[in-house]
Amino acid sequence: MSTPAPPTLQKPKHIKYWLRCLRTCLPSDYTSTDLNRLTLGFFCIAALDLLGCLHTETTEEDRAGWINWIYKNQLPIGGFRGSPATDLGKGADGSEWDPPIVPASFFALAALVSLGDNLERVKKRELLELLPKVQREDGSFGEWLGGDGQIIGGSDMRFVYCAVAIRWILRGREGKGVVEGVKDINVEGVVRFIRSAESYEHGISDKAFGEAHAGLTYCAIGALALLGRLHPTSDGLSTHANILRWLTSRQVPSQAQDELRDEEYESQITNGTEQEITAGAAITYGADGRPLWAGFNGRCNKKTDTCYSFWVCGSLDMMKKLHLVDFSGNRRFLLEKTQHFIGGFAKLPVPGTPPDILHSFMGLASLALMREEGLNRLDPTLCISMQAKERLMSMDWWRDAAV
């Protein structure tokens, strides 16, 4: 069977897609993400940064304007709100209904660093002081602090990652700098919580006995990496060998086995689904016997989805084991199955699925990890470009603090 021509990243289309996201209103379908506008904003900025055109396709004035907008969402008590939608006006500053949000605060910092801001206007002490207040006894973190000091939000690995990333950005790797005398988070508690959430499959879940999930696994490994606890001897994972098996097992042919019987599955893997056969796009194998398209799923026996190409590859990259995946299969999955003709990436390898901001960023991020030509390198741990991370690490206050 002949192998089709190699796929390419449609870079100009991606640039157009992201500029459109930045310069025009998002369609009203995005209303359900209204409270996460700082997160969406981060993806737009970071995507253009990965595409290497944040400083060429936008003006100094644009970037200064966005930086100011992000700071406008910083609260007087420190930390960032998730969206101007919760801004209750001057009289209500500090209201319990307009609280600083842990994930929004992380994405605000990451966007500011990507935009070239030096974080001078960040209320660092206040934000750092918030972190131990939203950490629970079991080591996990909440999403925000309620009016009566109650920790709000499910026990969730995403908040753990965001809290630890804020700490790393503001305190440095050793956790001892920038702001002297601020109470630190309970690091051992974090490690213990992550360990308790490792499932019998050896992926990480939301809590003890939850199902292993690649997105949560990325958050856990990222948190351990940022705490300097991701090394084979003294980290929060049972063993690296176990988690490597689980992570590499996430890569599957793009038509994953799901609710099919063995014979049906085998036939689909060999010949393609009926839909694909009709479309003349049967799954084929390359000369090396490997499937041509192989994305990643997030849980055992689930289907491939663009975002898991990042969650899994990012996790493996932090463990210095990214080379164990099939680059070609992932690349072709992204470029031929989910890359959209208007730019961006769709969530699923299903014709007719429109691109969206989250998956469009994740697709680029996964390709950047695999050193796709034309993309800047991505730091897998902070999820920003290497240049942005280096800029942070060379800021005066950061350098002084980190020693």
Partner: protein
């Protein structure tokens, strides 16, 4: 309980006393959204009433209205919960009605996660108010989850909620047969396998006293689980879920992987590669043989079969494992 939303808040007498608080997006906003007029107006009234921190029945009206348009609005859920609890304490609302509201929403917003968090709060409050009716409550909760599973048997939030419910109300009875029925329908449902692990081992831990050691019947439980896995593997040898579960059970029971060598050989006879029906059996055999230096040759053979023929996507990974074995020699 939730009054239907007004055609317009501005012209509704219930809302006449409030000055709407429009959104100030500021200059150069990021990720601006083309809100509908309906959402824009309702949000302006929500901000106004939140700024007053009011906990009255009309809060339920505006929050239900916005949740319908944006169920991922996280602060609104807590605001609604606080209002509900205050009104319920004053005897003005029945918390049971809130569950009906949530049922309808959850069925239509399968991926939403805040709904389930809120549901925990409401169920806790109902249970605290009527301890005698807890059993009935748990039964109804399980019943509702079944209708969620009919739409998506792998919904992460629902499974997570189910674990909370079972643990919180010690509702372990019936869980094993529930999960067995799901696996009978789809033996590849990994969420169901995971729940089985929770029920069998989480339940064992929960029901055992803190000082108590391993009970005698626990050995029987492990035997039962291994038999269950054997049946599942027989039906679908190439199903990763059951093999992963097998590894989990063996580890929990402190049994060596080698105790299932003969079972693996049924699905992966190393000497007759044409008869191999499971890459997972090969993988497990490779682990078993890696443990003994004199069997390293067999381990390498299994890994090479995986790389070349039975799981070529992961060729890099299998070759890496061969490298580890050779480095150890």
């Amino acid at each position: 309980m939730n009054q239907p939303p007004p055609d317009s808040y501005a012209s509704d007498p219930t809302w006449a006393d409030l000055l709407p608080l429009p959104q100030d997006d500021g200059q150069h906003p990021l990720a601006q959204i083309a809100y509908t007029e309906e959402y824009t107006e309702a949000m302006s009234y929500l901000r106004a009433i939140m700024a007053k921190n009011e906990h009255s029945p009309r809060v339920l009206q505006v929050t239900a209205h916005i949740i319908e348009m944006n169920p991922a609005h996280y602060t609104i859920w807590l605001y609604r919960a606080k209002t509900l609890l205050a009104l319920s304490a004053a005897g003005e609302v029945q918390l049971g009605c809130e569950l009906e509201f949530l049922n309808d929403l959850a069925l239509r917003h399968q991926k939403n996660y805040q709904i389930w968090n809120h549901r925990q709060t409401v169920v806790e409050a109902i249970a605290a108010a009527a301890p005698a009716e807890q059993e009935q409550l748990v039964r109804e909760e399980k019943g509702f989850m079944n209708s969620m599973f009919e739409r998506d048997e792998k919904n992460y939030h629902v499974w997570s909620y189910r674990q909370w419910l079972v643990r919180r109300f010690k509702a372990w009875d019936g869980e094993l047969s529930f999960v067995a029925a799901l696996l009978e329908r789809d033996v590849r449902n990994n969420s169901a396998w995971n729940h089985r692990f929770f029920v069998v081992f989480g339940g064992m831990d929960a029901q055992r006293g803190p000082e108590e050691g391993e009970r005698e019947e626990e050995g029987e439980v492990v035997e039962r689980e291994v038999r269950f896995i054997e049946d599942a593997v027989f039906i679908a040898p190439q199903n990763a879920s059951s093999w992963n579960y097998l590894r989990g059970v063996l580890k929990k029971a402190h049994r060596p992987l080698s105790s299932v060598e003969s079972m693996c050989l049924v699905y992966a006879p190393l000497d007759e590669p044409d008869k191999i029906t499971s890459s997972h059996a090969l993988d497990l055999l490779a682990d078993i043989y890696t443990e003994k230096t004199e069997e390293h040759g067999k381990a390498v053979k299994a890994l090479e079969l995986l790389a070349a023929k039975f799981d070529p996507i992961r060729a890099n990974y299998w070759n890496y494992r061969v490298g580890l074995i050779k480095a150890a020699a």
